[in-house]
C-alpha cells in the first residue's frame, strides 16, 4: 500500500513535469477559476460593507414637543430599549439640537435674527432609534405611533420622521435585499461556470492520454493505479494555480487599495487581503486542490471502461 502510494505520487509528479505544456494550460485555466472565486470573496466583503453603511444611515427619529419633560422622554427611551428589534437609542436634548442646528447653519444671519426674535429655543429634544434589521423599522414606527407617548391628550411626540420617509426607506430595504439575493445568485453561477471550464480543460488534458490509459489497462494495472497519477497531477495543478492566484492578488489589491478604496465603500482591499490571508489561503488552496483532484478523478473514469 505504502509502495503503491509512493509510486502513484512519483508518477503524478513526473506526469506534471513532463507534460509541461498541458500542465501550464490547466494551471492557467485554474488560475482564472480561482481568481473568480477570490474576486467574489472580495466583492462580497465590499457588498457587505456597503450594505452595513446604508443600514447605518437608516434610523427612526422621534422629535418631541418643546413641552415634553426629560423624565417622560427617558421613560419612552427605556421602553424602546426593551423592544427586541431595537439595537440602540440615542437621546439628543433641546440644547444639543439647537447647537447642532446652529452649527449646520453657521453664518446664516436670518436664522440668527429669527431665533433672537423668538427669544427661546424652538427645537424639541429627539430620540434616534436603530434597529437590528432594517425590516424592523416599520414595526418600531408602528409601536411608537400606537404608544401612550403619542396619544392625543397627553402625548409628547411632535413627529416621527420614519413615517415621512417610509416609502424611500422601504424601497431602499427592498433594493438591498434584491441586491443581496442577486449577488449570491451571480456568485454561484460564476463559480459554477468557472468550475465547469476547469473540469473540461482537465478532461481535455486527460483525453490526450486516453491511449496511455488503455495500454495501462492492458498490462494489468488496477483502476486505482491508473487513476492515481492523474489525480495527483490534478491536485498539483490546483496547488500551483492557488499559489499563483494568491501571488497575483498581492500587487492587484495593493494597487486597488491605494486607488479605489472610496469606490469600494471605504474598504481597503489590500488590508482586507493581508488581514484575512490565512483564511483566503486556505479557501483558494482547498478550492484548487478539490477542483483539480475531483475533475481528474471524474475525467479518467470515462477512459477506464474497458
Amino acid at each position: 500500500m505504502k509502495t503503491a502510494f509512493k509510486r502513484i505520487t512519483r508518477s503524478g509528479f513526473l506526469n506534471f513535469k513532463r507534460n509541461a505544456f498541458i500542465s501550464a494550460t490547466a494551471i492557467l485555466v485554474m488560475v482564472i477559476t480561482l481568481s473568480v472565486i477570490l474576486s467574489t470573496v472580495f466583492l462580497s466583503a465590499v457588498f457587505s460593507m456597503a450594505i452595513e453603511e446604508i443600514k447605518d444611515k437608516v434610523d427612526v427619529r422621534v422629535v418631541f414637543q418643546v413641552t415634553a419633560t426629560e423624565s417622560r422622554i427617558m421613560e419612552m427611551k427605556s421602553s424602546l430599549e426593551n423592544l427586541e428589534q431595537v439595537s440602540e437609542v440615542t437621546y439628543t436634548n433641546r440644547e444639543a439640537a439647537l447647537a447642532s442646528f446652529l452649527e449646520r447653519r453657521e453664518g446664516d444671519e436670518v436664522i440668527k435674527e429669527v431665533l433672537a426674535e423668538l427669544g427661546e429655543n424652538p427645537l424639541g429634544a429627539s430620540l434616534n432609534i436603530r434597529a437590528h434589521d432594517p425590516s424592523d423599522y416599520n414595526r418600531i414606527a408602528l409601536w411608537i405611533e400606537g404608544s401612550e407617548f403619542n396619544n392625543r391628550n397627553d402625548g409628547i411626540i411632535d413627529n416621527i420622521n420614519y413615517i415621512d420617509n417610509q416609502t424611500s426607506i422601504d424601497q431602499l430595504i427592498t433594493v438591498m435585499s434584491s441586491l443581496e439575493r442577486f449577488g449570491f445568485l451571480s456568485v454561484i453561477i460564476l463559480i459554477f461556470i468557472s468550475i465547469l471550464i476547469t473540469f473540461n480543460t482537465i478532461r481535455l488534458t486527460i483525453y490526450t492520454s486516453r491511449d496511455e490509459i488503455s495500454v495501462m489497462r492492458l498490462v494489468g494495472a488496477s483502476t486505482g493505479y491508473i487513476r492515481g497519477p492523474f489525480v495527483v497531477a490534478g491536485i498539483l495543478y490546483g496547488l500551483v494555480a492557488a499559489i499563483l492566484t494568491l501571488t497575483l492578488f498581492y500587487p492587484l489589491t495593493l494597487w486597488l487599495g491605494d486607488t479605489a478604496t472610496g469606490f469600494f465603500s471605504g474598504l481597503n482591499l489590500f488590508y482586507y487581503y493581508v488581514d484575512n490571508f490565512g483564511q483566503l489561503f486556505l479557501l483558494v488552496t482547498l478550492a484548487g486542490v478539490i477542483i483539480g483532484g475531483i475533475s481528474s478523478y471524474m475525467a479518467v473514469k470515462r477512459y477506464l471502461r474497458m
Binding site: 513526473l14 496511455e212 498490462v219 494489468g220 494495472a221
Partner: protein, 227 residues
C-alpha cells in the same frame, strides 16, 4: 492450455468478425496466426485479452473461461499475458526503463525485483543502452524491443504479438521475430499474428490460417491428419 471454443463475433451491422473458430494452443507452443488484413486475427487476440467479447463461444486458459472473470480477475489475467502491438503503444512520457518497470509496478512487484528484472529484460531484447531514452527518441525497431521487454518482464506464461513487425524494415523484422523465438525457448507460449507470410516461413512453427473470420487451415491438424 489455451482453447478457443467455437468463437463467433457478429457486429451490430451484421458484419462477421469471426465465425465458429475452434482450436487449442499447448503450453510453451509458438503459434503464428496468419491471414490477410481484416481476416479476424486481431479480433481473436483482443478476445484473448478480454478487450472485446465474442457474440458466441468460450475462451479457456487452463480451466478458466475468461469471459466469466470480473474486472479484478481480468487485471490478474492481463498481468499474466504479455502484449506486443504493431504500433508499439509505449507510454510516451516515460523512459524505456519506466515503460518496462511500469508493467512490474502494476503487478505489485517490489522495488528490488524491479531493479533486478528490468535491466535483464532490456538486455535480453538488446535495448539496455537506451534505458533513459523516451519513445520519441527511438527508432521503430527500438520501440518494438522496448514493447517486448515490457511484455516479458513479468515472466508471463503467454506472449501475444499482434503484427509486431508491421511497421518495421526487414532487418528489424528478422530481429524481432528472433527475439520472440528466444522468448518461446524460455518456455513462454507465443501467439504471433501477422499478414506477412515471409515472417513465418523461416520459423518452422505451427501456423493457423484465418480468412473471412473462419479458420481455414491449421498446420498442426494437417500434420496429424497426414500421419
Amino acid at each position: 492450455m489455451i482453447h478457443f471454443d467455437s468463437i463467433s463475433k457478429i457486429y451490430p451491422d451484421n458484419t462477421v468478425g469471426l465465425s465458429e473458430v475452434t482450436f487449442s494452443i499447448d503450453p510453451q507452443e509458438f503459434v503464428s496466426i496468419v491471414g490477410p488484413s481484416g481476416a479476424g486475427k486481431s479480433t481473436l487476440l483482443r478476445m484473448l485479452l478480454a478487450e472485446d467479447r465474442p457474440t458466441d463461444g468460450s475462451i479457456f486458459i487452463g480451466s478458466t473461461n475468461i469471459l466469466d472473470l470480473d474486472k479484478y480477475e481480468l487485471n490478474d489475467l492481463r498481468r499474466n499475458i504479455g502484449v506486443v502491438f504493431q504500433d508499439f503503444r509505449l507510454l510516451p512520457h516515460k523512459t524505456v526503463y519506466e515503460n518496462v518497470s511500469f508493467a512490474m509496478e502494476a503487478a505489485g512487484k517490489s522495488d528490488q525485483e524491479i531493479e533486478e528484472d528490468v535491466p535483464y529484460a532490456l538486455e535480453l531484447v538488446g535495448i539496455d543502452h537506451k534505458y533513459a531514452s523516451f519513445p520519441n527518441q527511438l527508432s521503430g525497431g527500438e520501440q518494438q524491443r522496448t514493447a517486448i521487454a515490457r511484455a516479458i518482464v513479468n515472466r508471463p506464461e503467454i506472449i501475444v504479438a499482434d503484427e509486431p513487425t508491421g511497421n518495421l524494415d526487414p532487418v528489424n523484422t528478422f530481429d524481432i521475430v528472433d527475439i520472440l523465438r528466444k522468448v518461446n525457448e524460455l518456455d513462454t507460449t507465443v501467439i504471433l499474428a501477422t499478414h506477412n507470410t515471409g515472417v513465418i516461413d523461416n520459423l518452422a512453427k505451427r501456423v493457423v490460417t484465418i480468412e473471412g473470420g473462419r479458420l481455414v487451415k491449421d498446420s498442426k491438424t494437417d500434420r496429424i491428419n497426414s500421419l
